[in-house]
């Protein structure tokens, strides 16, 4: 029988090596550039930080040689190591220190007396080593002679090496180690409370017919518009020692776990609400009809239909909240008192003790829960997507007066809590001298005489937010387009995808610290951006890359996969298609990305705390610094400036989107 397939005996047909088109080459170039951006802005800094956490400083006693003259001539040179061995003075772990460690030279002479007439000679052998006489640094390899009275002022400096010693030190420091427990405790507790409250709120929004749903939705979104530390300031005014209603806490201090948890619930609430509302909104009305026809009680229906239907949403919300809380830095700094948490530890190690290596170690420790929460969340979200069937029928709640009233009062309570905290902040900002002079004044807005950078920090923030929104949207959307719409480059694209997902798992402080290590390295030619607005923009764009990227990818996925094929068959370059079709069609998502980046750039503290310079002080950091300096009312005032700015930005976004939707209504209305 004839076969149309050529006989297998023939030699194999020649392999084809596809010729790349101009488009292919341009796209390859574009992927390369954007991929390079992520490598430079994310992968390399993180790598540098990781290696820094393994950089240790040790007193290398072999490097130092001593001679003694007790009036009867100089003794033979003997190394610090030999002395230490023979007299067993210091144990090996006592020689481990940090890069700014110091060790007194007199340690090696137990019989040392500064009044004696003994003379000492000392030299160090390492070209990079040094010792100090008082504060004078000696870095040569010559012998130096000192009388006893001067010798007592000599301290040795450590040399650099690498190993896991920093981690050993970390885990053997109880105060640092306890931060892990504290961070986990606070994060888990907050997660339980927030997810519970948000579930109730979302349930009321989707399953009742209570009035003012729109208003409640709006109120619930307010925390997104303010820095996470702002609720902390409001809590001080409410429950501090001079607080308006401090009695409510029965003498418990607000500074500490209570304050952190209340504030964390405030700022994580909208994030949880969005996820859970989505999960509840997609549940299938047919299941409820089935439950009714089976005469299941509402209670049973709730547990057998509602909860299982929303379970992925609940799990996802839990991990998102957990991640937000454990990586947040601003709130525990403001209201945490002496209650240490991991993110604050990084700050204390770096800023307070200048112990960069230990900061890097804490960062790595903080990465572990953050990364695992993120990974589980991604896994769960994939499952949830699969759960939605295209045939499900949306649930339409029926009116039930009693239930609706309960929902209304519950939501009103939550809304009052959220909006109340904001109002308290505004009130506090206008009081002249709480609690002694309650006259209203604008004195607290005179930021120029306060720590933190003054009004220019506010303008800097707006500049940062605009630049972040502009460049971020450009980079993110173009990057997402390349990942979604190019053919080939499979490895590059999956590597890019991986890098694009990573920022969500990286706490802002960790990213910021990594940036110091990477960009402030003298050999890095990109070091010129250190201390400028550019590094803040790069850092902020990178920090908020993932959500923006996912938004862009979702929008692009809804585009017909064959547009590019059609365009190339019509011999039109991809950028024409991109400009004339892709961008206009995705415009609503592009606007969403820019407002997301804008708002977050206005409120972010953790990612930029290590990176700002005087020229680039930011409003959100000014809030923290002013609170730090005890100027709490001005801090509240600046926080409110951020809030109003974000509200205005949101309104502009709303207006532009509405207008866009209206003018493009003709082709956006879906047919069929």
């Amino acid at each position: 029988m004839a076969s149309f397939n050529t006989s297998k005996n023939l030699p194999p047909a020649p392999k084809i090596h596809p010729k790349s088109s101009r488009d292919d080459r341009m796209m390859a170039g574009a992927i390369f550039v954007i991929g390079l951006y992520l490598v430079i802005a994310l992968a390399l800094p993180l790598y540098t930080m990781l290696s820094k956490s393994f950089t240790t400083a040790v007193f290398n006693l072999q490097n130092y040689e001593f001679q003694v003259n007790k009036g009867d001539g100089w003794s033979e040179p003997v190394s610090g190591y030999q002395i230490n061995e023979s007299l067993s003075l210091l144990k090996p772990d006592e020689l481990i220190t940090s890069s700014d460690g110091r060790l007194a030279a007199t340690t090696f002479f137990p019989d040392f007396n500064f009044r004696s007439k003994t003379e000492y000679r000392l030299r160090q052998l390492d070209e990079n080593g040094s010792f100090l006489v008082g504060t004078q640094r000696i870095a040569d390899t010559e012998w130096h002679t000192y009388p006893a009275n001067k010798f007592r002022r000599i301290v040795l400096r450590p040399s650099q090496s690498s190993g896991i010693d920093n981690y050993i030190t970390y885990f053997s420091t109880p105060a640092l180690f306890r931060s892990i427990q504290n961070s986990l405790f606070i994060s888990i507790l907050t997660t339980l409370i927030t997810v519970g409250l948000a579930f109730g709120f979302a349930y009321a929004l989707t399953r009742s017919r209570m009035p003012f749903k729109g208003g409640f939705r709006l109120a619930a979104m307010v925390p997104i518009l303010v820095p996470s530390l702002l609720p902390g300031i409001a809590l001080v005014y409410l429950f501090g020692n001079q607080g308006m209603i401090k009695e409510v806490l029965f003498g418990e201090p607000i500074y500490g776990p209570i304050g952190i948890v209340i504030g964390s619930v405030f700022f994580t609430f909208p994030h949880a609400l969005i996820i859970i509302t989505t999960a509840l909104a997609i549940s299938d009305a047919r299941l409820y009809e089935a439950a009714v026809s089976l005469r299941a009680s509402p209670w049973k229906t709730f547990w057998t239909v509602t909860i299982p239907g929303a379970r992925y949403g609940l799990i996802s919300a839990s991990f998102v909240v957990f991640n937000l809380v454990i990586t947040d830095f601003g709130l525990p700094k403001v209201i945490g008192g002496q209650y240490n948490m991991l993110a604050v530890d990084i700050y204390k190690q770096v800023i307070g003790q200048q112990n960069f290596e230990m900061g890097a170690v804490v960062s790595v420790v903080l990465l572990i829960p953050a990364l695992s929460a993120f990974t589980i969340d991604r896994y769960v979200q994939k499952k949830q997507v699969a759960q939605i069937s295209s045939r499900s029928v949306p649930y339409e709640p029926k009116s039930n007066r009693k239930f609706d009233m309960i929902c209304f009062f519950y939501c009103a309570l939550v809304a009052v809590f959220i909006v109340g905290l904001i109002i308290i902040c505004q009130y506090a900002a206008l009081i002249k001298l709480w609690p002694y002079n309650l006259n209203l004044s604008l004195a607290n807005y005179n930021f120029d005489v306060m720590d933190g950078g003054g009004w220019s920090s506010y303008y800097n923030s707006i500049k940062l937010a605009l630049l972040t929104a502009l460049t971020g949207t450009l980079v993110v959307f173009f990057g997402a387009y390349m990942v979604e719409k190019t053919n080939g480059f499979l490895f590059t694209r999956s590597a890019f995808q991986f890098l694009a997902m990573m920022p969500m798992a990286i706490p802002g402080m960790v990213l910021g610290l990594a940036y110091i290590f990477f960009f402030n390295h003298p050999d890095n030619p990109l070091g010129t951006i250190y201390g400028t607005m550019v590094i803040l923009v790069v850092c902020t764009v990178t920090h908020f890359y993932t959500v923006s990227h996912l938004t862009a990818v979702t929008a692009l996925k809804q585009m017909d996969r064959e547009f590019e094929a059609v365009a190339s068959s019509l011999k039109q370059p991809f950028y024409k298609l991109f400009a004339k079709v892709t961008v206009p069609v995705c415009m609503p998502s592009i606007l969403d990305i820019s407002i997301y980046l804008f708002v977050n750039a206005m409120t972010t503290v953790s990612a930029v705390i290590f990176l700002y310079s005087p020229d680039t002080a930011l409003a959100s950091i000014a809030v923290m610094n002013m609170d730090d300096a005890g100027d709490i009312a001005p801090a509240a005032a600046m926080g409110m400036m951020i809030f109003y700015t974000n509200v205005i930005a949101r309104l502009i976004h709303l207006f532009v989107t509405r207008k866009l939707m209206k003018s493009t209504q003709a082709w956006r209305t879906r047919q069929r």
């Binding site: 105060a175 001080v236 709480w434 550019v534």
Partner: protein, 346 residues
């Protein structure tokens, strides 16, 4: 048309990028001098203006933060310094920088006018002092009365059970003021006595703040009645109308010096030297004197409003080298002992 849009977009992006990069390197007719400082924010404008009266061609770009942060920043930038000069940072911090080889020794003109406590004793000094900044206790009289607290007279008084939870002080790990308190106690009471004192004091501390001025501001706001802070901050708050009294503990008070130094490797050495010269002039010292009772220039200090008269006589003999070289050890010990305040006790 598509290409055109893209081209324009490219140009726009490049322009934005270049302008952002350019922003950092912008150099106008005047010399821009990047000055790191921990001087109180409200004074910076006055300092720059007064300086510019004499040297209008040098434009000061301030980098202002609290002592710990500025120090950390300078150390972090050790290999790639961003600052040209430091004007107004704790001497302890400058000693630290000196030992890292980060300071450019320079003998400013008119050094002989300064009290010799106020400059580095090397032949060519690496740093020169401006003024001294003295610890003090801020006591809120209104809250004190409400809580039946008598005003403390000494450091030891603060350990009395009466003050439990009513005292607040800065964390020495982040605050220069906090560190000078701790190092002064260790110098005054001895290593053993100092830690014993802090153990006792710790029981009364409500919490440790990150910044040195916050305790006094919190005392001024009545949040915590007693704040261990520094005299200048107390005077300011009192001036603003807060019901506080500035107390100088009778054992003596720690102090640190605000000092200036040129950062080694600066490209603007001449301008930096000009500022160094000016920073020890009589005019500059009179300017410092508006806030600080003790200044480096011999014989010009005038009393400052609201400053307690006993303050100067109670300043201890401070060993800066001790403070600088033992800083790490002291901070580590402090953290081990007290940094877990308000931990749940199991």
């Amino acid at each position: 048309m598509g290409i055109k849009i893209l081209k324009n977009l490219n140009i726009a992006v490049c322009a934005v990028f270049l302008s952002m990069v350019g922003f950092s390197n912008f150099a106008g007719a005047a010399t821009d001098l990047t000055v790191y400082t921990a001087v109180e924010a409200e004074d910076l404008k006055k300092y720059a203006e007064t300086f510019n009266q004499d040297h209008p061609d040098i434009n000061i770009k301030w980098v202002r933060d609290s002592t710990g942060i500025v120090t950390a920043k300078l150390l972090a930038e050790k290999n790639n310094p961003q600052a040209d000069i430091v004007w107004g940072l704790a001497a302890t911090s400058l000693l630290l920088l000196k030992s890292e080889g980060m300071l450019e020794p320079y003998k400013p003109k008119g050094l002989e006018n300064l009290d010799d406590k106020f400059y580095d004793q090397d032949p060519t000094p690496s740093w020169v002092g401006m003024d001294a900044w003295v610890a003090a206790v801020c006591f809120n009289t209104v809250e004190g009365k409400a809580k039946n607290l008598t005003a403390p007279g000494s450091w030891k008084d603060l350990t009395k059970p009466m003050y439990k939870g009513h005292v607040i002080m800065p964390n020495p790990n982040s605050s220069g003021t906090g560190f000078l308190d701790v190092s002064s106690w260790l110098q005054m009471f001895g290593e053993k006595g100092g830690w014993e004192y802090m153990d006792a004091l710790h029981n009364n501390i409500a919490r440790y703040t990150h910044s040195g001025s916050k305790p006094c501001k919190l005392a001024a706001a009545g949040e915590i009645p007693i704040g261990v802070s520094f005299a200048f901050r107390g005077a300011r708050s009192k001036e603003a109308g807060a019901p506080i009294e500035i107390i100088v503990p009778q054992e003596g008070v720690g102090w640190d010096m605000e000092a200036s130094a040129i950062i080694a490797g600066t490209e603007k050495l001449e301008a930096a030297k000009t500022l160094m010269d000016w920073s020890i002039t009589r005019k500059a010292n009179e300017m410092y004197n508006s806030a600080y009772a003790v200044v480096g220039y011999k014989g010009i200090a005038k009393p400052v409003k609201h400053f307690p008269p006993t303050l100067l006589s109670k300043m201890i003999k401070n060993d800066f080298a001790f403070a600088a070289n033992n800083r790490k050890r002291i901070l580590a010990e402090w953290q081990k002992r007290y940094d877990s305040k308000s931990e749940p006790k199991n």
